[in-house]
Amino acid sequence: MAVLVLADHDGSAVTQPTRSAVAAASKLGDVTVLVLGPRTAADSAAKVAGVAKVLHTEDVLYANGLAEPLAALLVAMAPEYSHLLAPASAAGKNVMPRLAALLDVQVISDIADVVDADTFVRPIYAGNALATVKSADPKKVITVRAASFDPAAAEGGSAAVEAAPKGEDPGLSNFLGAEIAKSERPELTAAKVVVSGGRAMGSAENFHIIESVADKLGAAVGASRAAVDAGYAPNDHQVGQTGKIVAPDLYIAVGISGAIQHLAGMKDSKVIVAINKDEEAPIFSVADYGLVGDLFKVMPEFESELAKK
């Protein structure tokens, strides 16, 4: 049966976590992608490998991702689909449980594997355990942990783009505004390299040490919860159980002790580097390469070493 994926996009193209959700959805049936936004984003979805159809609307009702009208639209579309998926992004996690409750089904959050049409693997307890769950609900509503699925290729598909149906406006909420940080760096959950700083950074100003190494590597910047709590880094940089889950090719943890909560967000990275002055820090137990030293000495040296080819 047909499977629907609700896309996230950056204003011009669907995001990499969306393509990971497409990859998960491809295991379940023919994939239709719903794109709410500019036509260019819909066209990018049509090119994603494995996508059979794209439904698209530029209706301003959905321009700001308000959960109430979006869930209402998805409910109206649901009869056509056996599974409705979204990436486990802030947007997907906001709307999919609302959709599930409207359909009287239990949402299956943050899946890390598809076993069969009813059975999924999902991390619990900050990823310290993996639960295999079988859903008895007639329809499945799912969010997908992007780090666990290789994204479907951005090119190779040639799906038709059709108009999405029109939904009701429940009129419960209004969008007032947003402050979204503009960054030239790659998005945290899609980056091949991530450099993260912890509490040992000592101040928000000192985070430039992380940023300048990140820029040398074309990397995204992350932070531990401790660094976010201390106000050294914005919350959307947070890597961990309650922040973002990342699995880059290279993860460099700088001045991060390695609380369970943080490990939950990065332990599936291909190669982990830990730089910490405490040689007993738990981060070293998951690191492929550990360097014991004062980050304020090590990082400038690291940066100049990277500059040498």
């Binding site: 109430e68 609302r98 409750a101 310290n128 947003a178 369970i260 040689e279 998951v286």
Partner: protein, 249 residues
């Protein structure tokens, strides 16, 4: 404004959980239990709204075994006025909890329900959104700021890439993110006072709610363990390894 704050009893934040040998779940016997940290933030926010004069009464609700009384008492010691325990042994999924809360809300008619954004045991991140859906109320999830405004509430939300602000009609649902506030520790006098505050006990059947789980847990396993690698002696060695051994830069 009347506030309702659901609180969940979970394995304490600091406990390193162990998967049971028979792979049916994680070990919860003889393990320290606490209030879900995000729910503490929810209680704190409710108490602050009351202290500011924006709220009149705070009801703390928990669903689960009798021992959930401890978490309700914690909420009462922080400043909630009374408690409701929905007693049930066995698994309660977010959909079932949302249905139970909906039934309690039908009796109590709160204007605002503040929940934690996710419980640190099942990591579902769902109950608030599901409750909002069942009630047909607006939702302000992952809140970092909540202000009563223009007859409704203004919620600042933590989203990917930054913040966004919504205006919600009341009644509404808010779920808390980390930076909303820093929960207080209950003082000893307040802990003593909390013992005298009332807790009503109900059963799912009293509320006419079917709480049968929709998901069957087939097995629970430990994730593959990562092996510790090697220590390198210098930055030069590190860069050399990353270039030539791991080939990631």
């Amino acid at each position: 404004m009347k506030l309702l704050v659901p609180v969940k009893r979970v394995v304490d934040y600091n406990v390193k959980v162990r998967v049971k040998a028979d792979h049916t779940g994680v070990e919860t016997a003889n393990v320290k239990m606490s209030m879900n940290p995000f729910d503490e933030i929810a209680v704190e926010e409710a108490v602050r709204l009351k202290e500011k004069g924006a709220a009149t009464e705070i009801i703390a609700v928990s669903a689960g075994p009798t021992a959930c009384q401890e978490q309700i008492r914690t909420a009462l010691a922080m400043g909630a006025d009374r408690g409701i325990l929905i007693e049930h042994d066995g698994i309660l999924e977010p959909l079932a909890v949302a249905k139970l809360l909906k039934a309690v809300i039908a009796k109590e008619s709160p204007d605002l329900v503040i929940l934690g954004k996710q419980a640190i045991d099942d990591d579902m991140n769902a109950t608030g959104q599901m409750l909002a859906a069942l009630l047909g109320w607006p939702q302000g999830t992952y809140a970092s700021k909540v202000e009563p405004a223009d007859g409704g509430i203004k919620v600042t939300r933590e989203v990917d890439g930054g913040l966004e602000r919504l205006q919600l009609k009341l009644p509404a649902i808010v779920t808390t993110d980390l930076r909303l506030n820093e929960p207080r520790y209950a003082s000893l006098p307040n802990i003593m006072k909390a013992r005298k505050k009332p807790i009503e006990t109900l059963k799912p059947a009293d509320l006419g709610v079917d709480v049968s789980p929709r998901l069957t847990v087939l097995k629970v396993e430990e994730p593959p363990k990562r092996q510790a690698g090697k220590k390198v002696g210098s930055v030069q060695e590190l860069v050399e390894k990353l270039r030539n051994e791991a080939k990631v830069i």
